[in-house]
């Protein structure tokens, strides 16, 4: 340990505000970016699911109405 006490660690011989401001902003931004990225991925999956369910509902309704012309287009990955 480079410091004698915990308060000395916080004060850092007068440089505390500079050092802690840097680390504070670093952690806030990093954690915010990580949380935001995880959230975006969840939101993407959720919006896909809703899209598929909407499609499924519609094709069910169409089937119920017995519409003669129903084309279902299946997009298969080209890979």
């Amino acid at each position: 340990m480079a410091f004698d006490s915990f308060s000395a660690f916080l004060v850092m011989e007068g440089h505390g505000p500079y050092v802690w401001a840097c680390y504070g902003v670093f952690f806030v931004l990093m954690i915010a970016m990580m949380v935001w990225s995880v959230h975006r991925r969840k939101a993407a999956i959720e919006s896909c699911r809703r899209g598929y369910e909407f499609q499924a509902d519609r094709s069910e309704q169409q089937a119920a109405r017995g519409s003669a012309a129903s084309f279902t287009r299946v997009n298969v990955s080209q890979d």
Partner: protein, 247 residues
């Protein structure tokens, strides 16, 4: 070799690999970064000249270093986009540009806060600081240009060209401190020489650089997966993945 190259271009294949890699990247990144920061903040000796304010180096150097490496990786991806039209390369550029923006901002911010007690000023228009500010604007420009163009393919090409044009800034950032008189000191880490600091200082610095690198890898995988889900939502494998509820 070309087969591997094409496999790499397959979003589905990448999605699977990323899912498997991500826990390791996250755990390793957090562990190494925290080890480096705790060591650097509490256990590394203070500097004879700057005292404790130099402890900002343990985040300043990693953020600045990785902000620049992200741009180099984006430039490689831009070449791949322009020459091979590989979708995944464009997905990468789009996914990591915001990460680069945040890290560049952090490097500038920590540098300014470090400059006040050591140099006596928050900001000075020297070659290193100015070229780093240009990097921030380049990241901002890439994000803005991508959002401004609706068509996916033309957006990919325009962004790739902007990224390539901006890559000349990277050697300028790196060598600014050697080519011109600057207030900023030369690099702490050089690839060819032993670090000019004792092991008690450079080992924690290296740990936090590696940790932030892994954390960037995790962020890149995560954000690329998001982008892939959006782009490939009409394919069967995405539908199967989403409906299986593995998300």
């Amino acid at each position: 070799m070309w087969q591997f190259f094409h496999k790499l271009g397959s979003p589905k294949w990448f999605f699977g690999i990323a899912t498997r890699l991500m826990p390791w990247l996250l755990a390793g990144g957090v562990l190494l970064l925290m080890a480096g920061i705790v060591w650097g903040l509490a256990f590394a000796p203070k500097d004879y000249l700057q005292g404790n304010s130099y402890r900002i180096i343990f985040i300043h150097v990693p953020t600045a270093f990785i902000a620049q490496s992200i741009y180099i990786m984006m430039a490689v991806a831009a070449v791949v986009t322009l020459v091979w039209r590989m979708k995944l390369a464009d997905v990468f550029v789009k996914a990591v540009a915001p990460v680069g923006l945040v890290l560049t901002f952090l490097a500038l911010f920590t540098g300014a806060v470090w400059g006040k007690p050591t140099w006596g000023t928050w900001w000075i228009w020297d070659a290193r600081l100015t070229s780093m500010l240009i990097l921030l604007f380049l990241y901002g420009g890439v994000i803005a240009l991508d959002r401004a163009i609706n068509d996916e393919k033309s957006a990919a090409r325009a962004v790739a060209i902007l990224v390539l044009v901006g890559v000349v800034n990277i050697p300028i950032i790196k060598y600014s401190v050697e080519w011109w008189n600057t207030l900023h000191q030369p690099a702490t880490f050089k690839l060819t020489e032993k670090p000019s600091m004792p092991a008690d200082m450079w080992v924690p610095l290296l740990l936090s650089v590696l940790g932030l690198y892994l954390l960037f890898g995790w962020l890149a995988c995560l954000r690329m997966q998001t982008e892939i889900l959006f782009r490939e939502q009409r394919t069967r494998w995405v539908k199967d993945y989403v409906m299986a509820g593995r998300g």
